[in-house]
């Protein structure tokens, strides 16, 4: 057997570990029933936020994209509308996090980042739903429901991430 040509470094291991946690959280979330279809807490975002603050943005992009692909393959929605919704939401979150990650540390904590990420998720998903999946203005009546849920879950996720960062996990 030939030895692996691709050199695996410390950062690859880190991405793998973080992505594994994110995938596990996503799967737990998938098997929990949701009171309103489409409203999900998005607990995997905790890992992405944690990665951005503790490590760097590139690692977070890897973790987020790997999570979307692997979860969709496990759950069986790969290349279906659900997968594209998930991917767009994640990419929008990442874009907005990239813009806002330089917010002043004195006034904005990770809770702000979490809220921004949650709202960016909703914005991205609504754009793709309106443009591609359900091209009808009727879906705009759903915006308030998703706004409220993203506000609540963004806040909760932010607080969880903050206490997670306090634990000072170094790996």
């Amino acid at each position: 057997m030939t030895p692996s040509i691709i050199k695996i470094n410390h950062q690859d291991h880190r991405v793998a570990k973080l992505a594994a946690i994110a995938i596990a959280l996503s799967l737990i979330e998938f098997f929990f029933p949701s009171p309103i279809p489409g409203v999900k807490p998005g607990i995997a975002n905790i890992i992405v936020l944690f990665t951005i603050i503790r490590f760097d943005f590139v690692t977070a992009v890897w973790v987020s994209v790997i999570r979307v692909f692997v979860v969709s393959i496990i759950v069986g929605t790969f290349l279906s509308p659900t997968f594209f919704l998930s991917l767009t939401g994640s990419l929008f979150s990442l874009i907005f996090l990239f813009i806002f990650k330089g917010l002043n540390n004195k006034y904005f904590s990770v809770i702000s980042l979490s809220l921004i990420a949650a709202f960016a998720h909703i914005v991205g998903q609504f754009l793709i739903v309106r443009l591609w999946i359900i091209p009808h203005d009727g879906i705009f009546y759903l915006i308030p429901i998703f706004m409220i849920s993203s506000l609540v879950f963004g806040l909760v996720n932010g607080i969880i991430t903050q206490s997670l960062l306090k634990l000072n996990i170094s790996k």
């Binding site: 809770i111 706004m147 506000l151």
Partner: protein, 132 residues
């Protein structure tokens, strides 16, 4: 190490001023969008039809009781400042009465046995069909 120090200094307080500002900003945005998007149009007139004959159009901003003669008897309709219901009907199933109050644009109550239908209309003419 420098980065870790920065994170630690950041975690002295739980929720910072900027966070509060952002939370209130998003709450405001949510309330604004809710008010803007969930603003269902209210109708202004009630149109009463008997079979395919138009009985008449009445303003919703009044408190009156109307009695209409149909093929099997009298139907009583109550208009109560913005909302409408059928209170008495000679039909057997009484679906029209069970529907209760209606107050939004294009809502309709139909009593098939008595061939009576009432619907709320606005100022603009409504579509009679839609194509996608």
């Amino acid at each position: 190490m420098k980065k870790l120090k920065k994170i630690n200094s950041q975690l002295t307080k739980k929720i910072l001023i900027g966070d509060l500002f952002l939370i209130f900003f998003f709450i405001g945005l949510t309330v604004f969008l809710t008010l803007m998007l969930w603003n269902f149009p209210q109708g202004e007139y009630l149109k009463i039809q008997m079979g395919n004959k138009n009985i008449g159009t009445f303003s919703l901003n009044q408190n009156i009781t109307k009695v209409i003669d149909g093929p099997i008897g009298k139907t009583e309709i109550i208009i109560d400042s913005g909302k409408v219901r059928v209170s008495k009907s000679p039909c057997t199933k009484k679906y029209c009465i069970h529907q209760g109050w209606i107050n939004q644009l294009h809502q309709t109550i139909v009593c098939v046995p008595n061939k009576m239908s009432i619907s709320i209309i606005g100022n603009q003419s409504e579509h009679d069909s839609l194509n996608y």
